[in-house]
């Protein structure tokens, strides 16, 4: 109870600062790794030829599908990694310069990162649920 009155607002002790600095550092590395992965994925999509399916219309559809898939993935990946990079750099800047504004902005970006991930997870859940529903309906329809 006394602890509460000592710390009416949570302050960042040296221990917390070290942990948060590590979080920022690893989030930064994670974002960079994400960008490199995206670059490799782009290389795979645009430089490696799709397997020849014989029919030229099928080949075009296959290539189009690959590019569409890549664009969707790239958009999501860019959104997530830019947000994470923003969070990491602002938290780092906030900690090194003891600037509350940068620190708060970085933390809000970290919250946004989790929010985007959560929303993507909800979308994925909806897609999986719809897929399962369609499979069940097709199964019942066949029976």
């Amino acid at each position: 109870m006394e602890e509460n009155s000592i710390l009416p607002e949570l302050s960042l002790q040296e221990n917390s600062k070290t942990n948060i600095a590590s979080v920022a550092q690893w989030a930064f590395i994670s974002a960079i790794v994400g960008f490199i992965s995206l670059a490799i994925s782009a290389y795979n999509t645009f430089s490696i030829k799709a397997p020849d399916l014989g029919d030229p219309t099928l080949n075009n559809t296959n290539q189009g599908g690959r590019i569409f898939g890549f664009l969707v993935t790239a958009g999501i990946s860019l959104l997530l990694n830019i947000t994470l990079l923003n969070a990491a750099t602002n938290i780092k800047k906030g900690l090194t310069t003891t600037d509350q504004g940068h620190f708060n902005y970085g933390m809000s970006k970290l919250a946004t990162y989790f929010q985007i991930t959560g929303i993507l997870l909800i979308i994925a859940l909806v897609i999986v649920a719809l897929a399962v529903l369609i499979i069940f309906m097709a199964g019942f329809g066949a029976a």
Binding site: L10, N19, S22, I29, S30, G34, A111, F114, L121
Partner: protein
Amino acid sequence: MQEHQTDQLSDLNLQADSDLRQSLGASVKWSKFIAITVFIFCIIFIILGIMASSVFEQLIHKLPSDKARFFKDFPAGIFAAVIFVICGAIGFVYYFLYNFSAKIKTALLTEDQESFNTGFNSLKIFFIVSTVVSILFLLSSIISLF
């Protein structure tokens, strides 16, 4: 004791003000949702893995003995074991994210500095493990290019 604490904090000017609390609150809410969803998915995959391995075993018994010889050396249980290990590893990593959300929530409610530190330590471990795994996947995809 009070003076000592105040002195210790005086040179660290960053505070968990209302903006930061709001951001941390949002992080707590979403990270908890992500962690729990991943746990549920892991459990579903483990159950599906066990079911699939028993179906796989029945299929092997139905195969002619010459064709089933290959699968006899590959026990069906290993399929469930692999899924169990992968899901266990994923669940273990996301436990740290769950711990982050739980500890920071406690810290925000009770002003407990220890929970605040432990929460960020868990987030640090989560980011370290997930980044190392991402690096390993990146390396394997780079190797596969050549």
